[in-house]
Amino acid sequence: MPERYPGYDVLAKRDGLSWNEPTRSAIAARLAIADEPRFFDIEAWQTLKAVCDRMVPQPAGRAQVPIAAMVDRKLADDARDGFRPASLPPQREAWRRGLAALDATARAQHEARFHTLAAADQDRLLKAMQQGKLDGPDWNDLPAATFFGARLASDILSAYYSHPLAWSEMGFGGPASPRGYVRMGANRRDPWEAAEAKPGSEAEARRENDRVR
C-alpha cells in the first residue's frame, strides 16, 4: 500500500508552535518507553507481544511502536479507565487471566505456545475470543468476548493510537497548542498539516510534508 502522507512526521513540529511544554514532556516520556515488561512475567509478555503484532500489524521498514510495553506500563501504573463491565475483574487481574487463558487454549488446540503459532492460527484464536467462542476451564468465569472488547482491544488500540508514528501514518495534525489551525474549510490545509498524496502528486506531497514544522 503506498503511503498516503509520504514523508509526513508529526514530530517535526515538536519544537515548533504547535507543541507546548506539557505536550513535549508527555510525548517524550511515551517515546522513552523501553520495549520490555515491568508488570507482566515473561510468559505473559511473550503472549502479549504476539497479540499486539496481530492486533496492529505495523508496516515493516520503519521503527515499531512498542505497543506491548505501553500496555504493560498502563498496568504497572494501574491507570484505570473509571469503569469496567461488572463481569470482568479489575484490569490487572483481567489481563493476567486473559493472556494465560489464551496461551492455555493455544496449547490445548495446537500443542504450542500462542506466540509460536503461525499468524493465521493466532488470528483464528483472537477471532474466536472476540466472538466469545473460547471458554472452558482455562477461561473459568472470564467472559472471552467482553475481555477482548473492553480490555484487550481497547488497551492495545489506545496505546498504538497515542503514538506519533500512528498519527503520522494517518495524517493527523497531532498536538496543536497553542497554534491551533486557521484553514477550516474542506480541502484546505494549513502549512503545518500533513499533505495527502493524490495520484501523480506524491513528490509534491512529500515536498510539502518536508516543510511541516
Binding site: M1, P22, R30, R80, G82, A86, Y160, A166, P178
Partner: protein, 547 residues
Amino acid sequence: MFDEALRKPRGKGGRAPDPMRVGGWVPMREYPGDEEVDFAIVGTGAGGGTLACKLAEAGFSVVAFDAGAWWRPLEEFASDETHQGKLYWTDERLCDGANPLKLGANNSGRAIGGSTVHFAMVSLRMRPERLNSRSKLGYGADWPLDWREMWNYYTEVERALAIAGPVNYPWGPPRPRYPYRAHEINAAGLVLARSCEAMGIDWSETPLATVSAPRGRSHPCVYRGFCVTGCSTNAKQSVLITWIPRAVKAGAEIRDLAMVGRIETNAGRATGVHYYREGQWRFQRARNVVVAGYAIETPRLLLNSANAQFPDGLANRSGLVGKYLMAQTNQAAWGVMEDEIRWYKGPPSLAITEHWNYTDTGKDFFGGYAYMSQGPLPQAWASTLSGNRGLWGEALMREMEKYNHQAGLKIVGEVLPQEANRVTLADEKDQYGLPIARVTYSLCDNDQALVKHALDFMSKSLDAIGATDIWTEDDDTCHLAGTARMGDDPTTSVVNADCRSWDIPNLWICDGSVFPTVGAVNPSLTIQAIACRTGDRIKELASQGTL
C-alpha cells in the same frame, strides 16, 4: 510530570491558583472546620461550582469540596488524549445491565470545574415542552419548573459564559441574541449543513461555550480541536475559569483534592461533611449541605451516608435515590467524503440540527434527539471503529487511513426515565474504603425506536450528499442525569423545585441528578440554569426566614 496538582492541594494557606495566569495565585478566604459555615457544597462542576458562586455573591459563607485537582490549563494541559486522562473520574465503577454504560472520559470529570473542564462546550436550552413531557407529550415526568422562568436563567448562564452562537436560532421560543458571534464552521460542520439542506430541514451553528472574540484573559478559540481533553488556551468557558474565580472573589473557599465520603446528620438535620484530604479524614461543620456530584457520585454519597436514623441512605424515604438514571443515547452515522475534511480542526460539534427535537410528527417513539457534526481524535476514533464494527488488524488500520476524509453525524438522544436503571452500592471498595458504585443500565423499546429513527435519517442524509462507506454506530451513550429527581410530591421525588430534599430540610442536591427527564440536548446549560435558580431561591428563602 505536569501533575503536581494531583498530589498536593492548591486551595489552602489563604490562596487559590489563578487558572488564567501562569504560576498565578489569588487570595482566598478560609474557614476552620469547627466553624459552622452556611453551605458545604460537595462537587464544583456545572451544579456545585455555579451554586458556590451564586451563594457566595449573595453573602453566604461557602466551602466547596472537590475530589479532583485545581489546574492551571495554560501551563499544565497537553494536547494529548492519554495524558489528559488526569481530568477524568478514574476510580472504579461497575457497569452492568443490557447496555452497560461507558463512564470515565465519556462523561465523568474529576477536577475543580468538574466535567466542564473536558466537555465539548455545546450549550443548548432544553425544549420547553420537555419540562412538561408527561402532561404535554404523554411520556416521562413533569418538572416542577416553569419553562419561562428557566428561559430567563438560561439567559443568565449564556451571558456568564459568553456563549458564541448564531444571530437567529431556528428552534423554540424567541431567545435573546447570543453574547458572542458564532464560530466559523469547519468542513465537518458543513457536511452536516449540506446534508440537512439536502433533506429539507433546518440546521444551525452550534451555540458553544468557547469565546469567538477576546474576553478578559481568554483569547479567542484557536481551533486546536482538543476540547474534550481540556482547553489549554482558556478559550473554553468552563466552570473552572468562570464561576469558580467569581466564587473565590466573593469569599467562597474551594478545597481541591478533598473527597467527601459521608454526610453527618443529627436529629434529622445535616450537620456537616466528612472529607479526606492530605492523608486524613476531616470534618467541616455546616448549616446546610449541598450534594453536587452528578448522577453517580451524588446517589453514592447519599447511600454511603446511611445511619441509624436514615438506614436506607439520606433523602431516600421515597426509595428513589439512585433510581431513574438516564444516559442520553449517542449513536452516529459515519461516512467517507471525497473532500479532505480533517475533522480534528476546531470544536468537534460546530453545526447542529434540533429538527427531530422540535418535530413531533413522523415519529413512532416518545422524545426527541438533536444531532451534531463530529471530530473524534485518533484514540477515540479507533475505539469507535473497533468497539462497534469489531475491527482490528489490517482491517482497522486501513479504515484509520481514511481519517482525514471521514465525517459523521451523532445524536444526543432522549431516553425514557426507567426505575430499573439505577446506581447502587457494590461490595468492592475504593481507595478511601468506601463502597463503589454499581451502575445498571438497559435501553427500553422506545429508546431503541428513537435510535433507529435517527440512524435511518442520518444515513440517508449522508447518502444524499454523496458520502460513501456509510455505516452506523448503534451502541453508545453519553451524558447522564436522574438518580435524585425533582418533583412536587415527596413520595415520587427526592427534591423539590428548589433542589431541597424532602426528608432533610437543610440537605440540597444541585446537579444533573435532579432531572426528571433528560431531554434531547446536552445538559450542562440546564444544570447551570438550575443552579442559578437554586441560588436565587435560597437567597429568597433566607430573607423570608424559611431557609
